[in-house]
């Protein structure tokens, strides 16, 4: 374990270079470049807003529905795109994996870091939205200290899942279809298009076993209500996320040496 982490540290420059490659390559030869980062969550927010304010109204007062859903769609988009990218990255780079040694998790981490650029762009739009809708809530600026912590928990969750899914995908390529399906189901199981209050109280324990529930609620608490996140649900999310990360890392390191023989 210590040896693996040491190897990873020695390849930190590669992580930087590969992250830059991923970011640069994504926006080269594209017309609007970084705008794609906000397009997906914005489009989703608009669609959901039309459906859930005009057709099947969902009450999110005092927060306008579009701000309410967009706040959760940003971290959700990070999760969905990040996990999809990570799942495929080992298979896409098989040419490299069969030829040169480096800790393979570098490839995954680079995908994750590259998606953070999108996340940052989309979050800046959220700030604009909040100003437009003039959220007159007593903000205690100190609650924003919780934001990097929530993000860290989410990244741990994503990397943990990415490590497991991407390595299984090397052996069984159908995994990537399962990922698409799984993410779709997960979207509806998480408090994105509806508030948690819509879930009957007696199911909350079960509901918050989904680590994204605690994470998304925490983002909303910080961004929309200027409050500290609910510590019990966030702690549960953090426990599950870091457990997944540690398990995923051990699993990945166990099967990693066989990647080059599978192809």
């Amino acid at each position: 374990m210590y040896y693996h982490l040491q190897q990873l540290y020695q390849h930190r420059e590669l992580l930087g270079a590969w992250t830059m490659r991923t970011i640069r390559a994504r926006y080269k030869q594209s017309m609007v470049g970084g705008l794609w980062a906000i397009l997906q969550p914005t489009a989703n927010a608009i669609i959901f807003t039309i459906i859930f304010t005009q057709l099947v109204p969902i009450n999110t007062e005092p927060i306008p529905y579009i701000v309410f859903s967009y706040t959760a769609l940003i971290p959700w988009t990070l999760l969905a795109t990040g996990i999809t990218d990570m799942s495929n990255t080992l298979v896409e780079n098989m040419g490299l994996i069969t030829k040169i040694y480096f800790p393979r998790e570098v490839l995954l981490m680079a995908q994750l870091l590259a998606r953070l650029v999108d996340f940052a762009i989309a979050t800046s739009i959220l700030l604009v939205l909040i100003i437009i809708y003039r959220q007159q809530i007593d903000f205690d600026p100190i609650v924003f200290l919780a934001f990097p912590l929530i993000l860290l928990i989410q990244l741990a969750l994503m990397l943990g899942l990415g490590l497991i899914i991407s390595s299984i995908n090397v052996f069984y390529r159908d995994v990537k279809h399962l990922v698409t399906l799984g993410l779709q189901i997960w979207l509806y199981l998480s408090p994105i298009i509806y508030p948690v209050t819509r879930i009957p109280e007696q199911y909350h324990t079960l509901y918050f076993l989904n680590p994204m529930a605690g994470i998304l609620e925490a983002y909303r608490a910080v961004w929309l209500y200027g409050q500290w996140p609910d510590s019990s649900s966030l702690l549960l999310s953090a426990t599950i996320s870091f457990f997944l990360l540690i398990f995923g890392y051990f699993f990945f390191k166990r099967v990693e040496i066989n990647f080059a023989d599978v192809v």
Binding site: H11, E13, L14, G16, A17, W18, M20, R21, R24, A25, K28, Q29, N93, G95, L96, I97, T98, K99, I100, Y101, F102, I168, F171, Y172, F251, R254, V255, I257, N258, A260, D261, V262
Partner: protein, 408 residues
Amino acid sequence: MYSIEVKNLGKRYQIGSRLHSLRDAIWPRIPKNEDNIHWAVKDVNFALTPGQSLGIIGPNGAGKTTILKMLAQVTPPTEGYVKLNGRFSALIALGAGFHPDLTGRENVYLNGAILGMKRSEINERFDQIVAFADIGRFIDTPVKRYSSGMYARLGFAIAAHVDPDILLVDEVLAVGDYAFQMKCYSRMDELRQQGTSLIFISHNMDAVRRVCDNAMVMYQGKSVFHGSAGDAIVAYSDVIRQAAKKSQLSPHKTDGLAQKVMTFDAEIEAVTVKTTAGQQVNTITSGQTIQIYVKTRFHKAVQQPIFSLTIRTTDGRAVYITTSQWQQLETTDFPAHSQYNIIYNLQLTLLEGQYDIGVDIAAHDLSHYYDRLERALTIQVIDNHQAQGIIDLSANISWEPISVEVKQ
């Protein structure tokens, strides 16, 4: 102190299993069914000190790539170990990790990082790399617009400037023009003089001889020869011949490759050198006329084969090659189960030294060999020390006056 040491290296694969099972990856187990296992590499040993070089040659499927993967630590050996002391760089697929949309400059930094260089080191060598690759102003163009030659040049330039202690080179010089190949060879020489150990894996015999002191011949996963590069090339030729002979004797168990290269419908049984007086000799005086007898048995009927003779110096440089086809000599058809002597009559104007004689018999359309001996025998030539070099051009030395001024 070895910079690279390989001991009892072996790699076993399980054949026949359609999917590589994830379960096997998590809990490796020894396959029970002996028939399903295949040793891609077995019992390979070698060690190199700084500055030494080793060529690895062999037909496809001999285990070269598997060795390469184990050296690059991409796949773990089933048996034995690879010990590397120092910085390792692999010239395997040139430009591995290049992204087509990124510029040459961006890719230099990326590829350098993959090869384990720090950003500061790349900065230091950036100009050298660009100069070596001869990319010039294209360095800020996306590499997808590069020609394959430029792509390979940039890839080689980066890997060759890592300043590795151990350099692994695989079949990369097939791309690039002659001038660039020469540049690569001299860069490899330069690195070796600085103490880099070099492992060179190639099909190109001349390249191996150019770059390596020693070479290893791989065949069916085993090292069948390990010695000087010149001898290894002869050994490689013999390996192919043996394989062809085996497959000729048991037609149902062919190994494909040898079948294509050599069919053994005709077999060279003996090669001898005789004087005009009919005396069998191995030492020949320069300028003497000799006859090379190639005793050949035709197992099957062979139509109009091409006979060929090669004379090489012992370090493998060709001195003289001729074939019946180049001489526009129509050969006859040879019936099955017949035996013939093919006779080359020549005046041996070589200078003193040892020379290898190679002979082969090829199909009329050159699609394959019937039989081929890279080094059928070695002869010793002696001369009267009137000249040095390889060939006696019988230079006449004379002089004539241009102007003569006689002082009184």
